[in-house]
Amino acid sequence: MSVALSVSELTKEFPGVKALDQLSFSLEEGTVHSLCGENGAGKSTLIKCISGIWPSSTYKGQINVFGDEAKFSGISDSEKAGVAVIYQELALVEDMTIAENIFLGREPKKGFLVDWNKMYDDSKNILKEYNLDLNPSDLVGDLGVGQQQLVEIVKALSKNAKILLLDEPTAALTDSEVKILIDIVSDLKKRNISCIYISHRLEEVLEISDHITVIRDGQSISTKSRKEWTYDSVVSAMVGREITNLYPRKKSTVGSSLIEVEGLSAEGFSNSHLALTEISFEVRKGEVLGFGGLMGAGRSELLMNLFHGVGDRSKGKVVLKEKAYDSPSAKESISRGLIMVTEDRKRFGLVLDESIAFNLSLSHLKTFVNAGLVDGNKEMTANADFAKKLKVKAPDLSVSVGSLSGGNQQKVVLGKALMTEPDIVFLDEPTRGIDVGAKVEVYELINQLTEAGKAVVLVSSEMPELLGMSDRILILSAGKIAGEFDPTKSTQEDLLEAAMKFS
């Protein structure tokens, strides 16, 4: 079997940091080779070197594509050589049709004019070739995230890509969409297309890969074929130490009720099919209440309704710390001791161009004001405290948040939330897209919160996390509560069955 892509002794330095340190691995033709590593291990930098975003003059070492040394100075070079990158963030134009997107920038032409018939005909054939049941004249914006991802892959393949770099392609996909993606990737192997696969979902990595290379601190720690790896061995190679307990939940004594929701019904969310119906629950001091369910079951919407009044509430009573709370806003919630860490941290959580310090104190700035002015020193002390407590990895706090890895960004969002000294913390998918080590740190933080008598509401799509970290679990299905579970006496199958009850 020949080698499609090989990387040898690649070193890439940024001022003060060695992002890649003599990294080597090789991808055999027609196989899937996964790269595993914590956030900041150097995976993204590696992808950028291979795809030519970092020109060959900026790194040391050698990259070979099908035996020839690749000296790319831009993405167009790597595309010509048959290398295509599928990013986590989609690069499709939502207001254009599938066909227009597939042929964006290389539209078939008849003289000066676009040959629309040929474009749609070709698109139809390409979609058919990969068994995708999609209509080329549908708008991309009308597709689900998963289908969009597939269109993106097909687009790359239609440009005769021989090597695909898939960077977290499943981060935003539902389980069923992940299955389709995995099927497509296995199908690609038969077509002799080689893939580099990067994902934080290790189950997926183990299912899909032929080889796995673990990267840590910019170095390739170990490359072995799939058979020789286990879930635990990958994790400990990534972290560099044994993680004995992935879900270190410590039960705390449960106290009085902090928030009570009774018969809440609401609709008018951005997902217009969704209506929350007759939802009742309470959360007590020292307790972690888990919310599970399928995508679109209304978990985020429920929390956003309680925290910021998103959607129209038609019915129901909410009591927050023994006081009625009927028309919530983020500002009012925060001053009453309720905080929410949203699922989409880049959209709702952070001002990406600003510094870590700016973001950390943003919700809590009022408390540092002295005679109308922000006391910069007092603020800096608090920021430094929280950054240390949450182990934010950065040279200093004036670094812009946008340049941090996902796990560190999440820590900043958590720090910002905790600085407001909340009694009730809503965590919506707090570990999405972050690595194992950072996950455990988030779990330990949850323990600290409940030990201090706070209440935590945890929304998660990862069943093991829900079972491992919650004291009680409520499952939502199509906007209704489909059951309450005791995590010690329930299995993933029980939860899944309830999640599909009303859908």
Binding site: A330, I334, F348, V351, D353, E354, V369, L373, N377
Partner: protein, 377 residues
């Protein structure tokens, strides 16, 4: 990020230097104390407006109505003084009250009814111009009755005597040193590292030297103009407001990511509305200064000033998308704009060519901005 910003600022200072050398070559009178005094007054007028504009641009919004507003509010003050014999201070207060009402209503329309600020203020541009012409009856209204000096006309004509000028200079330098010392002391108390004393000291020393040079040149003519002191106060106010208050942080947060600002518990609508009110007050102040500078209010006062103000902000590194911009940058931007206008007037460049030159500089500045933004990535 800070490093990149300073490269950009440095480029702008170089550009400014080149402009000055060019005009000096064309006409050495450009750096004469008489011309520099005029330049200082023109700089003050456009900078005050641009500083107000900065506050709104930081949130990612815009205001196209300020040029007409300058005319209208200056016109109201002139009419009250000339036609109704009001004392100048009362006339200015009345115009200021009008500014607060007009700009807070625009703020409410933009935030509560979610109409794009571009449209609302474009409407404002036309409506204020109409009101302006109505107020002055499309005639020329002098800033003072019977040629007597009053508070309004003195805004740009009054200069401090040599002694007072130097006393002011000493006061400013003293304040700079005291605030530096105080900052160092606080940093020490909290155990933070501060710059080596020599560097901090040198920074303040150089600023003081520059101020001294400026005062020396200006006292060769009539002394430090009052309008320059007004600019100093306005710049200090906006600097403290944007960098050292919660309100200022919120402006940057809203411009950087509005949705995140809402979820962070920031009263976004209130802050944005208030940013328009602050701009309105600065428009009124600019209106008074501009009327005083021209000696009267006529139909053309304030024309195209909105574009000069926006240009000064953009040249100074303010992002039209919001979230980026600083007081220092805005003043450098305004200095570039006014130096160009002043120099071209001195060279007797035709009005047609002046317009083309202003436009070209704006386009060039935005191109530079995009260039630096790309480089940063």
């Amino acid at each position: 990020m800070n490093k990149e910003m300073s490269i950009r600022d440095f480029t702008m200072i170089m550009v400014l230097g080149l402009i000055w050398i060019f005009f000096y070559n064309q006409n050495p009178e450009f750096i004469g104390s008489r011309n520099l005094s005029n330049l200082a007054i023109e700089l003050s007028i456009i900078s005050v407006l641009a500083l107000g504009m900065l506050v709104v641009l930081l949130t990612g919004e815009i205001d196209l109505s300020v040029g007409s507003g300058v005319g209208l509010l200056g016109g109201i003050a002139c009419v009250l003084i000339f036609n109704y014999s009001w004392p100048a201070w009362a006339a200015m207060l009345a115009a200021l009250a009008v500014a607060v009402v007009l700009w807070s209503s625009m703020g409410v329309l933009i935030t509560s009814f979610q109409v794009p600020s571009f449209i609302i203020t474009l409407g404002g541009l036309l409506i204020f111009k109409g009101l302006f012409w109505m107020v002055i009856n499309s005639q020329t209204v002098s800033v003072s009755k019977g040629g007597e000096q009053n508070l309004l006309s003195m805004l740009t004509t009054f200069s401090f005597s040599t002694i007072v000028s130097f006393v002011l200079l000493a006061g400013v330098c003293f304040a700079l040193f005291v605030s530096m010392q105080k900052r160092r002391k606080m940093q020490k108390e909290y155990g933070f590292e501060s710059l080596p004393y020599e560097r901090d000291y040198l920074k303040v020393f150089i600023i003081c030297q520059l101020l001294l040079l400026m005062t020396l040149v200006l006292t060769q003519f009539r002394g430090v103009p009052l309008s320059l002191v007004i600019l100093g106060v306005a710049a200090t106010v906006i600097y403290i407001l944007t960098k050292h208050t919660a309100f200022g942080r919120y402006l940057y947060a809203i411009g950087g990511n509005k949705e995140a600002a809402v979820i962070s518990g920031i009263p976004v609508q209130k802050i944005m509305c208030f940013s328009y009110v602050i701009l309105g007050c600065f428009v009124a102040l600019t209106g008074f200064m501009q009327a005083a500078y021209q000696g009267s209010s006529t139909t053309t006062v304030g024309e195209l000033m909105e574009l000069d103000a926006i240009a000064a902000c953009v040249i100074g590194g303010t992002s039209l998308k919001g979230g980026r911009g600083s007081v220092g940058g805005v003043i450098i931007g305004a200095l570039i704009m006014t130096s160009l206008l002043n120099g071209m007037t001195l060279m007797a460049v035709s009005p047609e060519n002046k317009l083309i030159a202003r436009g070209s500089v704006l386009v060039l500045a935005v191109w530079l901005d995009v260039f630096f933004a790309k480089k940063k990535k």
